[in-house]
């Protein structure tokens, strides 16, 4: 499973969403119906799942799953 797939599954599990309805190009704020505090929770879950540390400023303008996966990919 690649980073994007793993991320989509993680996000769906974390926020109890239907994994099959999430696409890489989706805006995760909208697709998951989350606010900025929830996004911090997603960041924490990502760090734990992938064993990486992601400074907030690396994801400041990131809104899609694919862009977030790219940031994760650079840290693995």
């Amino acid at each position: 499973m690649d980073v994007t797939d793993t991320l989509l599954t993680l996000a769906a599990d974390r926020f109890s969403r239907d994994r099959s309805k999430l696409r890489p190009e989706d805006d995760f704020f909208e697709a998951l119906e989350i606010d900025s505090v929830d996004a911090m929770t997603l960041l924490t879950a990502v760090e734990e799942k992938f064993g990486v540390e992601i400074p907030d400023y690396e994801v400041q303008d990131v809104r899609t799953f694919s862009a977030l996966a790219a940031v994760i990919g650079r840290r693995i």
Partner: protein
């Protein structure tokens, strides 16, 4: 509405924060925290501070309130010197609370989750131990507003973790996840989500089992004197606070409708 509730049981003073969206520290919360530290007496053998907010432990100073007060005083023609003096009076009060916790003659434990930002981080740092659930994130985002941490956070973070970690967090404004904070030694116990308060209570109960004189002796030894640094932090903050840059940053912050406008994930509020 009260912003916190206290309960003393078996020598453990339980302080439950439940103010605002995420326990922002404005004048109301400050007044109640002052009441808490005034209640310290020989019956208190340990203390736990925790939050019932879904969003986290504490999001720090109530910047919207600070902005409103500052804008009002500016419109009334208050000089920079007057506004600086007024913000220093607020800082003196909050430092009084933080110092009382830091110098308490018993073990203090912060049970944290979610957002532990700015003044919330500083409140946790004033405690002897931090028990964090996996959701906790620590940050000092103040530089994004043209200011520095001002509730004693700079000297206390440096005392706890040294200059390198302090620089990393303060100079970038980034947040630190609980797991990494545990690795660095900031967090004494890392626990599952929703478990921090229960574990912190167990820690506090354990701390009550020792001779109070021995506890005080250990605390006196470990708590190094940072009083000069605390004063310097206040001086620096007051110098920065009257800058137009800070006025503009606080105005932007106050006009942001999101619940947590300083979080970078909100789309770049900095």
């Amino acid at each position: 509405m009260p912003e916190l509730t206290t309960k003393l049981e078996d020598g453990v003073l339980d302080v439950l924060l439940h103010g605002g969206a995420a326990n922002e520290i404005g004048l109301a919360m400050l007044g109640e925290l002052e009441s808490v530290v005034r209640s310290f007496d020989s019956r208190v053998r340990a203390m736990v501070i925790r939050s019932e907010s879904r969003r986290g432990f504490c999001a720090g100073a109530d910047l919207r309130e600070l902005h409103a007060r500052n804008a009002t005083r500016r419109s009334e023609g208050a000089s920079d010197a007057q506004r600086s003096s007024e913000v220093r009076a607020f800082l003196d009060r909050i430092h009084g609370v933080m110092n009382a916790i830091d110098e308490a003659p018993f073990t203090t434990v912060a049970a944290v989750h979610g957002v532990v930002f700015g003044g919330g981080f500083e409140l946790a740092l004033a405690c002897d131990l931090i028990v964090a659930d996996k959701s906790a994130r620590f940050a000092f985002p103040e530089l994004r507003l043209g200011i520095i941490p001002c509730f004693g956070g700079l000297p206390r973070l440096r005392r706890a973790l040294g200059t390198s970690v302090t620089n990393d967090l303060v100079l970038t404004g980034r947040s630190l996840g609980a797991a990494r904070a545990h690795e660095l030694g900031l967090v004494s116990q890392l626990v599952g989500e929703g478990q921090a308060a229960d574990v912190a209570r167990r820690v506090a109960v354990q701390a009550t089992r020792f001779d109070p004189r021995a506890t005080r002796a250990a605390l006196d030894f470990v708590r190094t004197d940072i009083s000069a640094e605390l004063e310097r932090e206040k001086d620096l903050f007051c110098e920065l606070f009257v800058s137009p840059v800070v006025d503009a940053a606080l105005a932007r912050f106050a006009s942001d409708a999101s619940a947590m406008p300083y979080l970078p994930a909100s789309g770049g509020a900095a």
